[in-house]
């Protein structure tokens, strides 16, 4: 009987200990394998080419295709990010604007496809990769204003917190869970208000900040 009670107490203790830890644990900060599902896009857009780091071997000769990326600022194309709730996919004209002068890749299949869309004046039906549920209101502008403009974080770090290391991707893939708990963990942390004052504040905790 005693041993029975002892083992019961031990088991119960273990259970409560384990579950209180489980209940206190943070949700995972990335998806299991760091990669969301692969999304088929009409054109396999190489983010690494555009936003990736420069390869020192690239001499800057425009006629020779570069091996590395071009370190283009995310917001050069996703112009909505700093002024709208949605980051926005660049209009086709923006792609063409550069590519009509880049002859070195003009005949590659992807660019040819791009020009086909342009000539037909048809918008490219990109698929959403980071698609939050429709009842969620995520505001890019607030986050960009806070972390890039007020706090002075590097663009790719700030964007990368939710979008992962896009510099290394071709077609963008989701690498963070984007679950509610994941958002909340960051909102609970204190972040510097700006680059100088040393004041901090945490993200809003109201349901209606994100739920619409």
């Amino acid at each position: 009987m005693q041993s029975f009670f002892r083992s019961i107490i031990l088991l119960a203790g273990l259970f409560f200990y384990a579950s209180s830890h489980a209940a206190d644990a943070l949700p995972p900060l990335t998806t299991a394998d760091n990669l969301g599902p692969k999304v088929e896009q009409p054109i396999e857009f190489p983010h690494n080419r555009h936003a990736g780091l420069r390869d020192p071997a690239d001499a800057g000769d425009p006629s020779v295709p570069a091996k590395g990326g071009m370190e283009i600022n995310c917001m050069y194309c996703h112009t909505g990010a700093r002024r709208s709730a949605v980051a926005a996919i660049p209009p086709l004209q923006k792609c063409i604007g550069c590519h009509q002068t880049i002859n070195s890749v003009r005949e590659t299949p992807r660019i040819q496809k791009l020009f086909e869309y342009w000539e037909a004046k048809k918008a490219i039906p990109w698929k959403k990769v980071h698609d939050l549920p429709d009842f969620v209101r995520f505001n890019h502008e607030r986050h960009i204003q806070r972390f890039i403009f007020a706090q002075g974080k590097p663009v790719q770090e700030a964007c990368g917190y939710c979008h992962g290391d896009v510099r290394a991707m071709t077609v963008a893939r989701r690498s963070k869970p984007l679950s509610m708990g994941w958002c909340a963990t960051c909102h609970q942390k204190d972040h510097p208000v700006d680059a100088v004052s040393g004041k901090t504040s945490h993200g809003p905790n109201d349901c209606w900040q994100c739920h619409k």
């Binding site: 549920p133 209101r137 505001n139 607030r142 204003q145 109201d206 349901c207 209606w208 739920h211 619409k212």
Partner: protein, 282 residues
Amino acid sequence: MSVSNLLENWSKVRHTHPVGDVPHEEYKWAMAIDLDACTGCNACSVACYAENNIAVVGKEKYAHGQAMHWMRIERYWDEDEREFPDQGAQFLPMMCQQCEAAPCETVCPVGATNHTADGLNSQVYNRCVGSRYCSANCPFKVRYFNWWDYPDQENAWPDEMKQQLNPDVTVRTKGVMEKCTFCVQRLTAAKNMARNEGRLVKDGEVQTACQQACPTNAISFGNLVDAESRVHKQWKQQQVELAEDAQAKDEYFTDLRGYRILEDLRAYPSVMYLERVRESAI
């Protein structure tokens, strides 16, 4: 929110009750509705349908009391049994009163309805499991439940009409509770803009859909904390205190017309009504 967070902040849960020690900081959205100006024309109600993706339920479901009008206009008659209602009717726009100590909030089993820092009574559609306890406990009965899957109903939103849906407002599916939000999507947008400029939202910068439409300006809406706001001035002038369940002025200044409905239930509504005035001599 982890357990330790929950425990640490337990005392703050729902502590937005309007007691002196926890004042509202930046915003406290509130309304004043002048029943003297209200003509009962229904413009506010239709504007609310347009802004908030409210489903048209159709005749049959209306008959079953399943209408979704977040803002309803009530029409009252005098009760003195005269042959004719020769002093007209009384109209009252009624919507969620955004109570400070909202009876609906405490009873929700999943915490789908909460108080925001701006003093709004939020309803999170996706969190709702549909126990309808909030509506059961609402004294004003201004919460509306999705008894049917309206997006799937044949004539609620035919394909063409789907294009009118406001992308800033969730389309509610069956089984969730909904109610007036004080057009929170507009408030959020206004706050966002003000934030970019490093300031607070100014009075008049944001209007609710009903206020915007109202042809007689009967509805005023704004930030009660902002001493410059019209709403603040109205509440102050009418001596209606947010944190009281009986107004001192009711005893001493009976010539003021501000009041809140069912105030004695201690829900502390955020909507002040101004009594209708009628000429006594004619």
